[in-house]
Structure formats: structure tokens, C-alpha cells
């Protein structure tokens, strides 16, 4: 999947006024959903990609009449977005005051604990789905999270 293919897909979505479009190809899943008059492109890299795939980072909304969505600086690097699998309160460290499990720049391995989400007095450890480096942390310590909220972006290595 390259940028041209993605542009073609976006055009098709707009042209046929599709409300939602989802596709899996070569281990890459693309889902496009129209929220009102905007097209929102979200993408999640595969959990265990056998080979690096040229991909586009998670994007924000697209204006109705605009051209292709803006690209991040390092196009071509797969990004995995870790999302909240449950509802609760997010903690970045094991105990109040101790150092966070990870920060932007931390090198992580698959299965490593990234944060804790507390729900119903139980501490649930959220594990990383792949090897890589933390590219972004979207939620601050002590903030509530909903199902599906973005937690971290990981540059897959």
C-alpha cells in the first residue's frame, strides 16, 4: 500500500459517498469512516508484521474539498497505535510518584507493560503489542480513558 493507492481509496470513498470503508491487504488494515462531512483515516499496523510495510501514520480529519491528507515527516515508517481495551483511569507508573513505565523515546518490546488502567479497583496492565520505540504518549497520568482511546504510538522496529 503506498500513498497513491491511499489517495485512490479516499477518492473512491468521496465519489461514491461511502459512509465507511475497511480493507485489509498484505497485513495492513485501513479503515475510513465519514464523520459528518469529514473523512477520517485511521490505520493500525499489524500486530506482528512479517516484513516492514510502507505505511502512513495516523491522520487527523480531512476538509471536504481538500486533496490528499497531510503526511507526517517520516512517511514509510510503520506506526502501531495502542488503544485502550477497557474503560478506566490510566496511570503512567506503577505507583504514584514512581517513574513512568515508558516515555516518548523509550525502546519497548512486545509484551512490555506500557501503563496501567484501573477499573473497578483492579489494576490492569496494558502491554505493548510489538517491538519498537514510543513515538507518542496521548494520555496523561490519572486521566480517564474510554474503550478505543489512543494511548501510545509505537514506531515498529
Amino acid at each position: 500500500m503506498n500513498l497513491d493507492a491511499l489517495k485512490d481509496i479516499l477518492n473512491l470513498v468521496r465519489e461514491h459517498e461511502l459512509a465507511e470503508f475497511e480493507m485489509e491487504h498484505d497485513g495492513l488494515k485501513v479503515r475510513i469512516r465519514k464523520a459528518g462531512r469529514e473523512s477520517v483515516v485511521t490505520q493500525a499496523a499489524p500486530v506482528a508484521a512479517p516484513a516492514p510495510v510502507a505505511a502512513v501514520a495516523a491522520l487527523a480529519s480531512v476538509a471536504p474539498a481538500a486533496a490528499a491528507p497531510p503526511l507526517p515527516v517520516d512517511a514509510g515508517v510503520p506506526l502501531a497505535v495502542i488503544k485502550a481495551p477497557i474503560v478506566g483511569t490510566l496511570y503512567r507508573s506503577a505507583e504514584p510518584g514512581s517513574t513512568p513505565f515508558v516515555d516518548v523515546g523509550s525502546v519497548v518490546k512486545k509484551g512490555e507493560v506500557l501503563c496501567i488502567i484501573e477499573a473497578m479497583k483492579l489494576m490492569n496492565e496494558i502491554e505493548c503489542e510489538c517491538d519498537g520505540e514510543i513515538a507518542a504518549a496521548y494520555v496523561d497520568n490519572g486521566q480517564p480513558v474510554q474503550f478505543g482511546d489512543r494511548l501510545f504510538a509505537v514506531k515498529v522496529s
Binding site: I86, T89, P144, Q146, F147
Partner: protein
Amino acid sequence: MFNKILIANRGEIALRIICACREMGIKTVAVYSQADEHSLHVRFADEDVCIGPARSADSYLSVPAIISAAEITGADAIHPGYGFLSESAYLAEVCEACHIKFIGPDPNVIRLLGDKARARRAMKKAGVPILPGSDGPVQGEEEAIKVARELGFPLIIKAVAGGGGRGMRIVRNLEELPKNVKTAMREAEAAFGLGDVYLERYVESPRHIEIQVMGDHHGNVVHLGERECSVQRRHQKLIEEAPSAALTDKQRKKLGATVVDAARAVQYSNAGTFEFLLDATGNFYFLEVNTRLQVEHPVTEFITGIDIVKEQIRVAAGQRLSVRQGEIEFRGHALECRVNAEDPVTFTPSPGLITAYSVPGGPGVRVDSFVHSDCTISPYYDSLIAKVITYGRDRNEAIARMKRTLEMTVIEGIKTSIPLHLKILNDPDFVAARINTSFMERFMPDKNAGKGTLAESA
């Protein structure tokens, strides 16, 4: 009074609860699955929390997700609506443990009345007429035969843990009994995790009559009259009304008083509905108690002028009921049509995008719905998209108003049951109130009723 109520439901009932909360100045929290992100209940709640993917088991049926959502929003009460977790003693208990008020009866009452066999025993003890039946689960084919000889035929085999019409088999003679008991036990085990079944006399073509009850924590219990829900197909109600044309004032008072006594006997609080069968000779037989708000509560609201959801909230907050039995009057007649997103002939579900939606107003019309133009009906949940309720000074006026309302309703892009509702409303037997639970058979594509699973009501 509560500061913030979380609504553990979706669709029209979530909006209904939001209405009551708004009118009472209570803040609301909507929970939603990813399929309902753009649903109206999310839009009109003060806060919203996404609790899971579309699949109900992972979202609307997930106690941890719902409790968690209440925790992060600081909700002090949860209203469970109907369906989903509304009759979950487990949710009620977890709420108690987390200091969140569950808007409904106590968990032990939910548990007692949710067990069909225990409920029968409790009602029998409280003097409520029950269908003759085995006094508990039958321990196998031999005991079933013994019980059946006493009960007589036809009879029905029911799963103790079943409900909504599932796990039931009609048996018309002794020869058919053993194999049906065996199959029913196996099916019950598979569907409900409990293979226990009990036996009951089966009433042919009864009317379905239910009594609305409300109790508070100050010892007051009242009944809000009956509803008739005989127009149903496979235990799914299509049209409900209040009052029932089949009851005299005397019968209403007597049944109402019996039900109030029974509710007191089990220490019932908050809203509940006691369901009965009415046979051709005027005998009432207890079926089950629904320990929650019902879909068809609006018809009762129309003829009594009482807001049942507000009463639920008040009771849960420790307040007294706003009326005493002597103050409750029944005036006029109300009908409700459940408009479903389905083919009106084949009943195949019809999810999709609604391209045009318009409902008329006018005197005596109420529409409870969550749909609108440009909204997508997803296939993940039940097919109810709107409840159209009409009120008139008498049954004929209510029917006339319902007909003109449905005729002037526009829903395009999907199929709906409205054409079927209009057929029913124009049927001479319906107009004459000559209805019972077999009434819908004349509209069904396959006239195969009573073939082992069809039974009396839901």
C-alpha cells in the same frame, strides 16, 4: 437526589431516561458501543463514554465497562433501562458494592423473581393465582410423567432459567412427553447454562394481561393498572394497550390488590410488572414478574398521567411515591405500536440508512424514538426503532389516531413493520377487541403455530 445518572442502555429507552433526568435537573452519562458513536442518546447526554465494540457482550452487557464508566464520570446512580442488564442481580450487587445506586429493585428480589420456579412458589404463597404446574423443577422423565398426570393436558415445558419465550415446549399428550422433556432439558442446558425445567398447564389462546406496580422504600406499593399485550408474534409484542377491554373495574381492582399484596410480600421496590394469562372463562394465571421498566410503559403513563421513569428515580433516591393508590385514576385509552426495522411480511430484519424520517404530531400522539433522517440502523441490536403511542378518550379514538399517525409517518431507506401495524388496526377482530395471543397467526407467512416452541407470552 442524584447528581448524575449513568444510563446503561441505548436507543429509545436511553433517550427516555435522559428526558426524565433533564426535566429533573439531573446530569446524565451515556455509554455507547463503537457502533452507536453517533446515536442520539450520546449526543443528548451531558457526558458520554465509549465502553466497547459493537458486540453487546463486550459493551452494553459488560458490567466492568459500565461500572468503570460510572467511576470515571462520578455517576452516583445507574438506570439500566430494559433488556441488557436491567434484570441482572449481579449488576445490582456490584453497584451496591461500589456505592452506586442501582435504579431498580434489590438484588435479592431480582434474583428471587428472576428464577421462574422460585417466583411461582413465592406468588402461590402470597395468594396469587398461578397456573397449575410442578412446584419446582422436574427431576427427569419419570417425575414429569407423574406430574403431567395430575396437571392434565395440554401442558408446557419451561426452562427455569429461560425467559422471553425461549426454552418452552408445548406437549399435548402423554406419549409426546418423555422425549420433549429430554430435549427441553438438553436445550435449556445449552441455552441458559441450567438444564432445569418445570411443567405448567397450557392455556389455549389466552389474553396477555400485565399489571404495572411501583413500590418505594417507605412501605408504599401501588398498582398503575393493567396493560393488554395479546397482539404478539413469537413472544415479541407488536401492539400494547391500556386499559384492557377484557377487564371490568371489579376485576381490575381485585387483580391490582392481589398484585400489590404479592409485591409487598416479596418486599418489592421500584418499578415492576406482573404478567398474567387470562383464559376464556375469566381466570387469571400468574406468568412471571419483570423486575424492570417495560418497553410499553408509555400507555400506562398516558392513562394515569404518571411519569414512571421519574418515579423510579425518586424511589431510588429514597423519596416517597408521588401518589397513593386512592389518587390513581385511569382515564381514556392508549395504544402503542412497536415500529421495527423489518419486512412487514417476512419479518426479516432490515438494517440500513434511513434516508427520510418524519412523524406527525397532533393531539394524543407520542413518539419515543432515537432515529432520524440520515441515521444508520445497525444489525447488532434489536430491531425496535420507534414506539408510536396514541391516546384517546376511548379505544376507538386511540385507534383512529394511531391509524392516521402511522399513515402520515414517513420512514424511507429501510423496511418497517408499519404496513403490518395498519393491517392489524384495520382488522375487525382487533377493532372489536376480540384478541388473544393467537391473533397474529392470521398474518404469519407460516401457519405453524404450536409446533413445540410457541407459547403464550413474553
